[in-house]
């Protein structure tokens, strides 16, 4: 693992490599510790070959940006005894099992505060984490964690939403690292029947102000939707649907990997051939 890039350059390279062969990078989400420790590790290991980056969920008791699917998964992970430290240990184990793609930890701010900002980013870096996605930490409150993360070479990912004003787009563009997480809709996480019709306008508004890769998440649940979003943005994030697929399968790693592979193929099939 010594030769592996980490942090910002690891993330940047992943987007560059993906965009060279596909329309967009694929970043699946899965909850660590769901439905139990071993199964979640097996699922992540199985989907890694079809993923350009991974977003792994650290459970919190009060996930207010998440819809029912991810809420339930994190609740069960907590009931199974999953802790923040345990999640870092799982990342270390995944690295040991040969998972090399960039890993983003998605978790709410309170457990990070409880762990301690500096110890958290240091232990995360040592475990092989590349960046942090913290849904309840807007740029106005992010200075401390961002400085701590940057000090160890890791990224704090910032969000933009359809409601973000031009001023906020500019503010996020100015301090973005790695990529910007575009929330596709006003709402919580969870697969939807249809993507927002004005998603293209939103992506273009952000694009006009930054060269940083733009990854779109929330509401994406089918290969068709992934293809649609991949044609607009640099990255596609799919979360709740992976939990749903796991729930409906006996052999969860195989079933989730097959689904992620279908997303990957949808993105690859539409890669522009010319220009």
């Amino acid at each position: 693992m010594d030769k592996m890039e980490h942090g910002r350059s690891h993330i940047t390279t992943a987007f560059q490599n993906a965009l060279a062969t596909q329309t967009a990078a694929l970043m699946p989400y899965f909850t660590l510790g769901y439905p139990d420790r071993e199964t979640s590790l097996a699922v992540v290991e199985a989907i890694a070959p079809y993923s350009d980056l991974l977003e792994l969920g650290v459970p919190f008791s009060d996930p207010l940006a998440d819809g029912p699917t991810i809420q339930r998964s994190t609740q069960i992970a907590l009931e199974n005894g999953t802790t923040t430290a345990g999640c870092l240990e799982m990342v270390r184990e995944l690295r040991g099992r040969g998972v090399h793609v960039p890993i983003m930890l998605m978790g709410y701010y309170n457990p990070i505060l409880a762990y301690g900002l500096a110890p958290y980013v240091q232990d995360a870096a040592a475990a092989g984490v590349d960046g942090f996605i913290v849904p309840d930490l807007p740029p106005e409150e992010a200075d401390e964690l961002e400085q701590a993360a940057t000090a160890v070479g890791l990224c704090l990912i910032h969000f933009l939403a359809p409601t973000s004003s031009p001023e906020r787009v500019a503010m996020v563009a100015a301090r973005a690292q790695g990529f910007i997480y575009l929330v596709s809709l006003t709402g919580v996480t969870g697969a939807r029947q249809q993507m927002q019709s004005n998603l293209g306008d939103f992506v273009n508004r952000a694009r006009a102000q930054t060269q940083t890769p733009l990854a779109v998440g929330f509401g994406i649940g089918t290969p068709e939707q992934a293809r649609e979003v991949g044609a607009l943005a640099d990255g596609v994030i799919v979360g709740s649907k992976l939990i749903n697929v796991a729930d409906g399968a006996v052999d969860k790693p195989t079933a989730v990997a097959a689904f992620v592979r279908s997303l990957r193929e949808a993105l690859t099939a539409t890669a522009p051939t010319g220009d």
Partner: protein, 405 residues
Amino acid sequence: MDLTMQLPKIDVPDERGKFGPYGGQFVPETLMPALAELIVAYEQARADPAFLAEFDYLLKTYVGRPSPLSHARRLSQHLGGAQIYLKREDLNHSGAHKINNALGQALLAQRMGKQRIVAETGAGQHGVGSATACALLGLECIVYMGEVDIARQQPNVARMKLLGAEVRPVSSGSRTLKDAINEAIRDWVTNVDTTHYLLGSVLGPHPYPMMVRDFQSVIGLEARKQILDMAGRLPDMVIACVGGGSNAIGIFHAFRDDESVQLIGVEAGGEGIAGGKHAARFANLNLARVGVLHGAKSYVMQTADGQIMETHSISAGLDYPSVGPEHALLRDQERAGYTYATDEQALAAFQTTCRLEGIIPALESSHALAEVIKQAPKMRPDQIIIVNLSGRGDKDLDTVLAVLA
């Protein structure tokens, strides 16, 4: 001369919503523009004499303000110490102090062109207040309420429905107030263009702790004037219960600069501090550490791993794991002191107040009365305690009768 919102200019929060190290805006990006819009709308409304006049008019002609300050003569005599005065928020229309803030925010929502209101409720008093204000102003009202709270506050559930509100049961987490707030925030994130979140306490992201304080400050402004009229002097002590802390902030603020007036907040001690089944955030700083919940930094009851703990109190309105950021600052500054009353002590105070004063207090307010019972006997008969009787206890009869049976 009306007293509405005539607070002296206060130095907190700052423009980022910080009360010293507490407060702030820890919310998803989707809500940040809505908070910015709310701050602007509130500042404009606060500076608009027409808005203040309308708020004042409704407080007087609809809520029934000013609420009386009652001299609790038999209770004072029984305790044999200080003279006890009750600030009668229980006599407000809809039965608690919650209506002050609900009306203020509903008027603001109407001014902002938002026709849909979401609210959370624990004891149901804020839900009833919100449903009442929405019926009065013709706004759609959706109230999120934990399943546990729905079971123990049935009369208020029925009231909200009669008033035209939709009560949505919340089955996630501990199924109490904190989970109702999570769901209300999720709804707000989803419907932010059309919806105002009518948060019921001095909690949540900026500007809520400031705005709710301002709308509730009428309690203390009236009480201060009333005690000067009735007793010719300021009180020695002001006592209020603290869940999120809106009735306490509401009565404390007018006395903040009166250094001789001791301010005491009473948290829910539940079954006692030792066993951990309580909601006394300040009483056990091993369990309650500075953290972030529902958009604000404050003291939060949590596990070593940063998971929010389930709290316990006989009173649904105090059953919450965090506390308003301004209370955290008042405690740091030692301007206010914080203590707790157990379920048992609150119940005893409830019964005493019923029998000696002919008033059935809310179980929340009974926690403040329990502290009065501890403090008054230690004081002289020429000293004065004002206690905020924040709500009436009709809603709690099922709970109380079950325990007393």
